[in-house]
Amino acid sequence: MSTPSNVPSDSFAPQPAPAATSPTHPLYWSLQREFWEHRSIYLAPLAAAALFLFGFMISLIHLPSRIRAAGIDPMQHDFIVQSENLAALLIMGTTLIVAVFYCLDALHSERRDRSILFWKSLPVSDLTTVLSKASIPIVILPFITFGVTIALWILMVLLSNAVLLASGTSAAPAPHFSFFQLSTGLFYHLMVVHGLFYAPFYGWLLLVSAWARRATFLWATLPLFAIGIVEKIAFNTSYFASMLGYRLGGGAEDNGSKATGMAVAFMPHFTSGQFIFNPSLWTGLAMTAIFLAAAIRLRRNREPI
């Protein structure tokens, strides 16, 4: 029996009646709902990728002449790899901004427009709702970032090779980093840093979004500054600020990898799996759990604004 959802007609034709109860998938549909409501989750990285590709195509005009001027390969390597890094950074930056604003809005807008009364009239628990919302920045966005970046990289390599071939310059030689290495580095960076290490930030933002009546951005940021400033004045220390900085840096000890200007994507200690033994990863995840538990309680208690 065909389900009406598969029929792209724009009228409600009567359909034969199905069985009385049907299996449900609350988590899946809760996620689907987020994609409907917050289309920036996938549109923003796609737009960033399109923008980058546009700029990259213009830069390709000069590629053959630059390679000829430089004589041989290294320039080309640098050009492509640097462009790939830049592309990854642009898309990561975009999805980070999307994640921050998504979190601040996620549990706030449903109270602001009173639709929380509709969502709560349905058999979906606050736990499922908050977890599905938390999984957007922690799980879904890193995967989207990865997928869009890889697709963009492939397009960039294809385009640059096509330009080089068409101009009669030498075909692309083997780069310093294989595409596979770059991809795995990016994947680990996204999953470990953007997913696991940033999780407490997202948990905090969701908590503020469930709690604040207005000005979620201010409530999310100003207390952090306040703690840092009070600590500085009272004890003349800055542990809190350095803790935040350490976490924002993805839990990386300053091993010079950032100084190279290469994307943090290629830090080797992630791929080796050592991050598992980093205690700050686990304290961060514990913080995330506390923040999310508080957000679930708040969603249960809070009324429309």
Partner: protein
Amino acid sequence: MTVIEARGLRKSFGTTVALDGVDLHIEEGRILGLIGPNGAGKSTALNAILGLIPYQGELRVLGRNPWTERDHLMRDVCFIADVAVLPRWIRVSQALDYVAGIHPRFERTKAEAFLAKTTIRPSSKVRELSKGMVAQLHLALVMAIDARLLVLDEPTLGLDILYRKQFYDSLLNDYFDRTRTIIVTTHQVEEIQNVLTDVMFIDRGRIVFGCSMDEFESRYLEVMVNPERLAAARQLKPIHERQVIGRSIFLFDRVDRSQLAALGDVRTPSIADLFVAMLESKPGHQPATPQGAAV
């Protein structure tokens, strides 16, 4: 069987007491109208029943604790808070997809059949629909759910009279089937008087009156008294007296119909008139429970 059982239900917001010891006992298959002035505690009572707010006292809805078991309870309970709660960004087809995906008792074809009778298109977003159409959509979603308790909190607020009439007609003809229970609050009392099976008055957080509509119709009579019979009418101890265009209208409780017919035109009062009478008859607008109140 009992759908709602409450004993000593209390809720206060700060120093404001919204529910002051409410006792409720609602049986299956009733359509109960919960009538009260603004701020009387109607919505608070409904929110407690729906598991939206914590409360003190004892409350079981369909045998469950609504505060701790809201998500389970919502398989058997539906509610329409008011017309403006559907998310404005959602498309009609998405709303159907979503409810079909998460509600085990949702029958999509039913909702689509209902929507087919309206001018709502599946591709429309809620923000593009008129207020009446949003109410139709919400009703379509709710009526396609095989629920045992439906709670309507001012479901027709802000709708024009055509939509309001359609709303209650659909509810009665296509939804209500004597095994379901409906609780409705509204300020347009006169429009639902013939829909209800039971009525309950709430004021300042207390249930001040409750009876079935059968009892209501047999107990209360309103008489437009002929001017020369005023004194005789007052001797029968009316519970309320008011003037309408120079005529006196008396409201009687448990007075024989034939006795009243001698005084003037007798008719069944509206719920609103009885409500006003009860609130006004008490000094300082402090109604007490009338004798024989069922709750």
